[in-house]
Amino acid sequence: MAQSSQAAGGTMSIPALLLRNASEFGDKPAYREKQFGIWQSWSWKQTEAEVRNLALGLINMGVNEGDFIAIIGNNRPQLYWSMVAAQSVGAIPVPLYQDAAAEEMAYVLDHCGARYVIAEDQEQVDKVLEVQDRLHQFEHMIYLDPRGMRKYDHTRLHDYAHVQEQGHAARDELTPELQARRAKLNYETVCVMLYTSGTTGKPKGVVLSNRNIIESAKSSAEFDNLGPGEEVLAYLPMAWVGDFIFSLGQAYWTGFCVNCPESPETTPSDLREIGPTYYFAPPRVFETQLTNVMIRMEDAGKLKKWLFDTFMAQAKRVGPDILDGKPVGLLDRLKYKLGDIFIYGPLKNTLGMSNVRVGYTAGEAIGPEIFQFYRSIGINLKQLYGQTEASVFITVQPDGEVRADTVGVPAPGVELKISDTGEVYYRSPGVFEYYYKNAESTADTKDAEGWVATGDAGFIEPDTGHLRIIDRAKDVGKMADGSLFAPKYVENKLKFFPNILEAVVFGNGRDKCMAFINIDMSAVGNWAERNNIAYSSYQELAGHTKVYAAIQAHVEEVNRSIAEDEMLSGCQVHRFLILHKELDADDGEMTRTRKVRRRIIEEKFADLIEALYAGKTEQYTETEVTYEDGRKGKISATLEIRDAAIAPIRTQKVAAE
């Protein structure tokens, strides 16, 4: 790699990488952003000048080494520069979620004691001003977009461009200081602090050093052969570790170009115009895109629909194998090629994925059908498993070894071990330094030897070495016969069916698994409409025999797929019922982020669970519900309970086809 020719120390921090890129890549675009309908670009040289002026401006404003600078906004080149400028002057950038409410920001800003804030626009400025009384260390705020802020009191507010100008004007005086500060940066210096979203308790500030970021960026870039020619679209929150690694770490290491969308709403069309070669999205994005394609195909003309169906069937059959470089017959290859001309090519173009060489999804489980769909039309979509504490990478799927049910092999430099309880531990150069002002949590998560607990239970497949994540470690239990009980694993399989919105599986300490099912009103309602099934309420639709039959088929299919898995075959769903109401956060049954609250559901629907285990075929129940205006009411129903066929357990492990 070109980087190895550099003297050591030249690549030991992000600002150092910037200087290297400015001299090595010079006029090659580093950033693009669509402004007023036209893509503007900045070369590495220009980027270096922008960052330098801002860094000088920050020194001019009195930023000290070790200060925290909070950065709030959508993905904009200027905000990425702000992070690098902060690093250049020895300060620590802390990107925040731009959609967080003022209250949430107050906690983080106060916790890190940010003296400076760089905010995108009036909206973000207002949020900080709203809580500024509680921020004892907060001193100055810099904003990018001056719109609407003319009348604001400017004693503590500064225009971004003005800060740069002032820095530039004082360059003779301040440049030695900047150089001195930059020279002190090394692998041990803190690169960034990122707050984890905190599903339990308050967010924790994860401190990542230059070593963490640069080592992770380097090994992952080598893993996927990323070069300076890549194009990425930066559209995921800047406060998320993935964006920091992709749009900053890897971009600065390899020198590729980061494109920022015009606005969050224009992202799909910006994606099409840029045509990234390296792409990342959470499963939700892929899901939505696929749904849109399918809905539009439903409305297409007969010929188009036929073409689509025919070639998609062909793609499903041979597409993934062609992508993996496995042997495929000549005729099939020809047919696939034809399909590429008529369907896959134009489809990829519409999705903005014509040029994608490497695509990743992570964050949560992706439905196998969705995953296979993208792979079958020739998009090299892979899964990775990671977390903030690991500087993203724990495991990744190598090209040619991509499967929907695993998360891949340990990333370069990562060691894995599985504890006695089944929890996954890892150790790598990317492992975070510590949680800021939280030694207790640091000690809980990271042991003396550097092993970090993921909180997820999983196992390594003996023959392939791939890691499979089963569930959150705290949810995993044991059945009465001692076999593994992983509710989320089964629930996810059920939820991959469009008809099933939510599922809750019970069985911890019992001899059999049982399930509650919530139907997806839009999918099932649509199906009912097309099949002339009349219904007047959610409850009536949920209790319809035809709906029950459809759901039963789904449950049995899931059972068959679980049976293939020796370890988890005990989790097959023996009996199930369809709930008469949707699980709702207002009723406390789910969290606001739509995660099922098991304990509460167990208490609330104890009568139903009892009926499931008692072998009854129906059960009358009354449930308290909270309406949106806060009033409470009761709904009652007699629910049918059905048995699902249990698939025979295969003792021999079936290899993936």
Partner: protein, 274 residues
């Protein structure tokens, strides 16, 4: 406050400087046959001001706006614009004077994209003829680029980038209203007339629109005259309010003054009219 207003203007509570009189209506009476829509109304609109016209249904608000825009010529009374008496004019002459408007019932070209619709607002800034535009070399191209740039700034300002290429017919109502505002702004008006800019909008859309109206006034210094039913919006947005009822002016002043005006309270709460 009204009496303290001299010709140099005044300063609002939030520190905005309001200039001298831009447009003055003197004793306007408008009749349609035997029906008197407006009876002897006088008021003024000052430079940089947000001026609201309110009143119950059928009070004559839209007629008043049409008089301001020059679409209706009153039978009695005079309209002064920048101190000069305004003669009856054609709509395009009004537009050239720097007056633009939006309509109560959206009047966009439904089949055209948002971008094209907003571009039509630039008509007064296009001077090349049809032949030059057909050949598309030099002047015509340059002119289009300049106008496109101005339009893009407005698209950015009103945050409608994502629907730039979408045909208007496919847009929801709230967005159409915003596109209409964009087209009016494209003409770079000195005086912007808004006929019920928030009618039929939900709370969130109203908040957005209010913010845009304030921003337009603040950023471009555009004088705004608007008709609105939502009293909360009117009281929050405007500097001064004219209240009409049955074609007559029953109140004029700052929102607070108007709110405490007995005649206005009667008109809104309803008393028997003799």
């Amino acid at each position: 406050m009204t009496q303290t207003m001299q010709d140099e203007g005044y300063v609002t509570a939030d520190g905005r400087k309001i200039g001298g009189v831009m447009m003055e209506m003197k004793n306007i009476t408008l009749r349609f046959g035997g029906v008197k829509a407006i009876t002897d109304i006088s008021f003024d609109i000052r430079q940089g001001e947000i001026r609201a016209i309110i009143g119950p249904n059928g009070a004559g608000k839209s007629s008043m706006l049409n008089v301001i825009s020059g679409f209706y010529v009153p039978q009695e009374g005079e309209v002064f614009f920048h101190g000069k008496k305004r003669p009856p004019m054609k709509p395009f002459e009004v537009a050239r004077q720097g007056i633009a408007r939006t309509f109560q019932n959206i009047a966009l070209f439904e089949g055209m994209t948002v971008l094209d619709n907003v571009m039509t607002g630039r008509l007064n800034y296009m001077h090349t003829n049809i032949l030059q535009q057909a050949i598309w070399r030099g002047k015509a191209e340059q002119e289009e680029n300049e106008n496109r740039e101005a339009v893009e700034k407005i698209i950015d300002f009103l945050e409608i980038q994502s629907i730039r290429k979408t045909p208007v017919a496919r847009l929801p109502y709230g967005l159409k209203k915003r596109v209409e505002l964009a087209r009016a702004l494209a003409a770079e008006p000195k005086l912007l007339l808004l006929d019920e800019p928030m009618a039929g909008m939900n709370v969130e859309e109203k908040e957005d629109m209010s913010r845009f109206i304030l921003d337009v006034n603040d950023e471009f210094g555009t004088t705004i005259a608007l008709i609105e039913h939502d009293m909360g919006v009117v009281m929050d947005l405007s500097d001064r309010v004219v209240v009409m009822d049955y074609g007559k002016k029953i109140g004029d002043g700052t929102p607070d003054e108007v709110r405490n005006n007995q005649a206005v309270i009667d008109a809104y709460l309803g008393v028997s009219h003799d």
